[in-house]
């Protein structure tokens, strides 16, 4: 008899407790929060003590990587000198070409060169600049003006070099426009083109020269899309006309990118 009563009592207990649980579950949050806040308020001292012990245990880390005060000062002075050198270097870059703010140029040297002659029309659009092998220039290096790529070094002499502009009809530079990757060729005038592109791009989109190990560490702007129209030969493909990002005719100075310069 007693055993039977226990069973019934157990079921009833379970039912009542479940009901209480669901009441708690669906009761408004501001009411149920009072239980939690009351508990936290009443037992704040032991709770805080436990938390402090836990924090203390977490912060007691053994010090392994320590140096002497003298060594620390030496390192600090060296760091300060390096920071000052960096600031000075950035100031120079900012003054000259505004290239200071791009961290990808850490292992890059820019050789500043003046333009001797410029030919911006006809099949061979090119510049002749006053820096050559003696300044570390080599064939294939990218040339910048106004923070954009205008061409590549095509011939190098001892004290000068020839730069093939992106508008030259013999220029072929791998580029990307959005998700499109293609080769951009010069038109022989003041523009370039991407032929038979697989999908359309918007006029005004930026065109970037893609990264080339040893020559260019990061994609860099070469121009903007001036026109995008379906190809006459293949109506499903697109011909894109690209305008250079800077006015090449008015360039007086350029910077040649030398990756990993010999020190």
């Amino acid at each position: 008899m007693a055993r039977k009563q226990t069973r019934v009592s157990g079921r009833m207990l379970f039912t009542w407790f479940m009901l209480a649980g669901f009441i708690c579950l669906f009761a408004p949050q501001n009411i149920t929060d009072k239980f939690q806040f009351t508990f936290a308020r009443i037992f704040r001292w032991p709770l805080r003590l436990g938390r402090n012990i836990s924090l203390f245990a977490h912060t007691q880390q053994p010090l392994t990587d320590v140096v002497s005060r003298r060594q620390y000062n030496q390192l600090q002075n060296r760091a300060d000198n390096l920071i000052e050198t960096l600031i000075e270097g950035r100031r120079r870059y900012k003054k000259l070409y505004g290239l200071y703010n791009s961290y990808v140029w850490d292992d890059v040297e820019f050789v500043l060169a003046g333009v001797i002659t410029a030919s911006t029309a006809g099949p061979s659009c090119e510049l002749v600049i006053n820096c050559g092998q003696d300044s570390g220039l080599a064939k294939g290096q990218f040339v910048l003006a106004d923070n954009s790529i205008i061409g590549t070094v095509s011939d190098v002499f001892s004290h000068g070099a020839r730069v093939k502009l992106i508008t030259s009809s013999t220029s072929n530079i791998p580029v990307k426009v959005g998700k499109l990757r293609a080769v951009m060729k010069g038109n022989g005038d003041s523009s370039a083109k991407i032929e038979l592109a697989k999908h359309k791009v918007k006029v005004g989109d930026s065109v970037y020269a893609v990264r080339r190990p040893g020559l260019l560490d990061s994609a860099m702007k070469v121009g903007t899309v001036a026109k995008c129209q379906s190809s006459d030969q293949h109506p499903l493909l697109w011909d894109i006309t690209v305008e250079p990002a800077c006015d090449i005719e008015k360039i007086s100075d350029v910077a040649v990118i030398i990756m990993n310069p010999k020190k």
């Binding site: 407790f17 508990f39 836990s54």
Partner: protein, 158 residues
């Protein structure tokens, strides 16, 4: 059942869980261990009361009230009924029981918490907590039994 001792034990473990263990990334759920302990060492009525009380304590230090009362109560009661059929005496079985109950209560808590549009516990954390509790739990049964004056060698079925 010595209810005063039970209340002191629950209070102590709740404070321990909310204070000392609160900052640990992965921690054993001491209240879950107590739930399994009382479910397999008490008779049905006591186990039901203990399960819901432990669930209430877990909710008091949790995010929201309700989910753990229901899930702890439900699975504690189920385990107590199961214990009438299968004796969970050896430590590996106790560890397995803690792991299974921990994971199932966690799943139900997540479901109920989701219904209240509150953030749920990631399943990886749930798994790790259950595993950790199952590894630690059987060893905490002995001091719990000592405190509650329960003889662990004798198992009575009601």
């Amino acid at each position: 059942m010595r209810w005063l001792r039970f209340a002191v034990l629950i209070l102590f473990v709740t404070i321990l869980q909310a204070g000392l263990l609160a900052d640990m990334d992965v921690k054993p759920d001491l209240l879950l261990i107590l739930l399994v302990f009382f479910a397999i060492h008490c008779n049905i009525s006591e186990a039901i009361i203990a399960s819901f009380t432990v669930g209430f304590a877990a909710d008091i230090i949790g995010l929201t009230m309700g989910p753990q009362i229901i899930s702890f109560g439900l699975f504690g009661t189920l385990l107590a009924y199961l214990h009438r059929v299968v004796t969970i005496r050896k430590m590996p079985y106790q560890a397995l029981a803690i792991f299974v109950v921990g994971f199932l209560t966690g799943l139900l808590v997540n479901l109920l918490t989701f219904l209240k549009a509150e953030p749920t516990v990631p399943y990886a954390v749930l798994f790790c907590t259950s595993l950790y509790s199952s590894l630690v739990g059987p060893f905490l049964f002995l001091p719990s039994a000592w405190w509650m004056r329960i003889k662990t060698q004798r198992f009575s079925r009601y």
